[in-house]
């Protein structure tokens, strides 16, 4: 997506690259790079939810963190409300971070076990000097009500809560600074089915009430498609397809997307047992040495000579449907 016009998006990413160096030997010399995210461009419009799916190790979490400037990018630009935030520092960066928050995957590891729930939720308010005196308690109570937690539970500690409730605590904390944009990194993948539905409902409700914009990262396509307006599919550091949720299911164009979709079983025996299944063989190649040409060609059932030689660009095939494949 070369022509991402950063003005029409709340968040825009252009040619983003993030490499993690690998050091080895006695001299700790750099021997290689893990190419976690490699020239990725996309935009998120105000008020929409953009889903980001891919298998583990495809770079989706890294991408989310780069967008929030939790990682410094290797190359490329990230725009927030049209402003380039890639090189912001100090106070300016802190200012922008109020508007961008993160909800973590693991509700067990992401909450400090030695802080009370009230303090966990209220900490961003203190850090950003957003409240004074009595207001603090009121705000924390209000945040807890927003995520449907009992405000009287604020003196308790995280271990006293179940996985679903902890995820609510994480959400309340993310909402404390009244952000406009939230990166949800696998917020429901560790939860049980019935609890997962509760959290999905809550996220949808909050988005409507507060006018939020989400980047929703997950590996579960059904969940991503359910919650997202548009979905981006990632493979080995690249976005291979972006389109709206319904189109993705009815008309997937990239062979990887097709395989991914067919691998997701549908919880209805009548429907699922009629579907054609594409079983991908082998494993995802190492991001240390990604295959030349199209990165998917080693596992693609349609691969041709050109796929081994040149890397396909992400191109618009009509009605906002972007695909990176030579054969489309």
């Amino acid at each position: 997506m070369r022509d991402v016009n950063s003005d029409s998006y709340l968040v825009a990413v252009r040619d983003l690259v993030k490499y993690f160096p690998v050091y080895a030997g006695v001299m700790r010399r750099k021997v290689a790079d893990i190419k976690a995210v490699d020239k990725v461009s996309f935009g998120v419009r105000a008020g929409e939810t953009l889903g980001l799916v891919g298998e583990s190790g495809c770079g989706k979490t890294t991408l989310g963190r780069c967008v929030l400037r939790l990682y410094d990018v290797t190359d490329g630009k990230v725009y927030f409300k049209g402003q380039d935030i890639t090189s912001l520092e100090g106070g300016q960066l802190r200012q922008i971070r109020r508007d961008m928050q993160l909800i973590f995957q693991d509700p067990y590891a992401s909450l400090d076990p030695r802080m009370s729930v009230g303090d966990i939720i209220g900490e961003p308010l203190v850090v950003h000097h957003l409240v004074k005196g009595k207001e603090y308690k009121e705000q924390v109570k209000e945040l807890m009500r927003m995520v449907e937690l009992e405000p009287r539970m604020s003196p308790r500690y995280p271990h006293e809560f179940s996985g679903g409730q902890r995820q609510r605590i994480g959400i309340a904390r993310a909402l404390a600074t009244r952000p406009k944009f939230i990166v949800c990194d696998e917020p429901v993948s560790e939860l049980d089915v019935s609890i997962q539905a509760q959290i999905i409902k809550l996220l949808t409700k909050l988005k409507e009430e507060l006018g939020l914009t989400y980047l929703f990262i997950a590996h579960d396509l059904s969940v991503v498609r359910y919650i997202s307006d548009r979905v981006a599919v990632m493979y080995l550091g690249k976005i291979v397809e972006i389109t709206d949720g319904d189109e993705l299911y009815s008309n997937p164009l990239h062979p990887y997307t097709q395989a991914l979709l067919s691998a997701v079983p549908i919880p209805s025996p009548e429907v699922d047992r009629q579907r054609t299944r594409i079983i991908l063989t082998g494993d995802v190649p190492s991001p240390l040495f990604p295959p030349a040409g199209c990165r998917f060609h080693t596992r693609c059932r349609l691969a041709e000579a050109i796929c081994r030689e040149s890397e396909p660009e992400l191109k618009d095939v009509g009605s906002e449907h972007w695909v990176a494949c030579h054969l489309v």
Partner: protein, 355 residues
């Protein structure tokens, strides 16, 4: 890596089995009760569980965390750690014998041989200091009396069967040298090494990606057809169940709440928990604006749960007075279809009204 992609259409002929049910029964769990004695008191992880598995059948055991599904599987294998856990009652009849009455030695000859298990975390179930060949060969030497060399050759064959590339070389590798999906395939190879009559797979795909999950489940299903092994799949993934299972058992708070053929469970669930669970999963094939059903509240605390009420009553939309005064038992409501709910007769109407 091969570029070959295997296209498979659905091939499930589920109910073509002979009618002599008694002879066909491989495993019968009767009124199994496994309790744990913890600081908070008596935790009834499994409290009166009944189900049967026929030869070659694919049975799914569905439920959320802490509903007792894993504990019931470990009970079958007699691997409940004591203390704090203990099987306080019931019978587990496997091929005509009550496993709970066997000596530890007799049990060892069944474990890994007649009944095999695949665990959730491949990295923690494989021994990190032994080569995978050694680990697979171990049970072959033990149960099939093979010599060291021939056991290793057999291990190579098994690795090939689960699609490990360059099996001859990789048989000498250690677990950490394999990816998560490959480790799980090695677990499957190990489990099937003695052609068991029953394979218990405890959430085998929870920690792997969907494409790997598809590979793995497809493989288990093919091997099942090849060896005639019955499979008990423990999972909370309702999609995988819909795709592969012949029969579904739904557990809640240590008890079976519904049991029936897969199609029936998905199309006409008679327990509000089953219905709620199915409706709370986002589906790829349905329009996005379909609203998700939400089961309110949390699963009950098994230490405090009173025995004489329906465990689901506190979260149930259709709760009646009787549900909080008595505990419903499993009742037959159709062919091979059992439900533990006082209001199962009205369920079709009640759930119909909601949607």
């Amino acid at each position: 890596m091969g570029k070959v992609t295997r296209m498979k259409s659905v091939c499930e002929g589920s109910d073509g089995r002979s009618s002599s049910e008694r002879v066909d029964t491989l495993l019968e769990v009767r009124d199994l009760r496994t309790y744990f004695y913890v600081r908070e008191g008596e935790l009834r992880a499994v409290d009166g569980l009944w189900y049967t598995v026929k030869k070659g059948e694919f049975v799914a055991l569905v439920g959320e965390s802490a509903c007792g599904k894993s504990v019931s599987a470990l009970s079958i294998m007699r691997l409940i750690p004591y203390p704090p856990g203990i099987i306080v009652g019931g019978e587990i009849i496997f091929a005509g014998k009550d496993l709970l009455k066997l000596s530890e030695e007799e049990m060892r000859s069944i474990r890994g041989n007649r009944i095999a298990m695949v665990f959730q975390e491949p990295m923690t179930s494989l021994n990190p200091v032994l080569t995978v060949g050694r680990q697979i060969a171990e049970s072959l030497e033990l149960h099939r009396g093979l010599g060291r060399q021939s056991a290793l050759e057999e291990a190579v064959k098994l690795l090939k069967q689960v699609d490990i590339p360059a099996a001859e070389r990789r048989v000498n590798d250690y677990p950490y040298q394999f990816s998560g999906g490959m480790q799980q395939r090695i677990m499957v190879a190990m489990a099937l090494s003695c052609s068991p009559a029953l394979l218990i797979a405890d959430e085998p795909t929870t920690s792997v990606d969907v494409t790997v999950q598809a590979q793995l489940m497809e493989m288990v299903n093919n091997l099942r057809a090849e060896f005639g092994t019955a499979v008990v799949l423990i999972t909370h993934n309702l999609g995988v169940v819909a795709r592969f299972a012949d029969h579904v058992n739904v557990m809640y708070a240590g008890r079976m709440v519904e049991s029936g053929p897969t199609e029936v469970i998905y199309t006409q669930p008679r327990h509000p928990y089953t219905g709620g669970l199915i409706a709370s999963v986002p589906r790829l094939d349905l329009p996005r604006d379909r609203s998700l059903h939400v089961i309110p509240g949390l699963p009950p605390d098994l230490c405090r749960l009173p025995r004489n009420i329906c465990a689901f009553a506190a979260r149930c939309r259709f709760v009646s007075k009787k549900c909080t005064e008595e505990r419903p038992e499993l009742e037959q409501v159709g062919a091979k279809h059992y439900v533990a709910c006082f209001r199962h007769d009205e369920m079709e109407m009640l759930m119909g009204c909601e949607t």
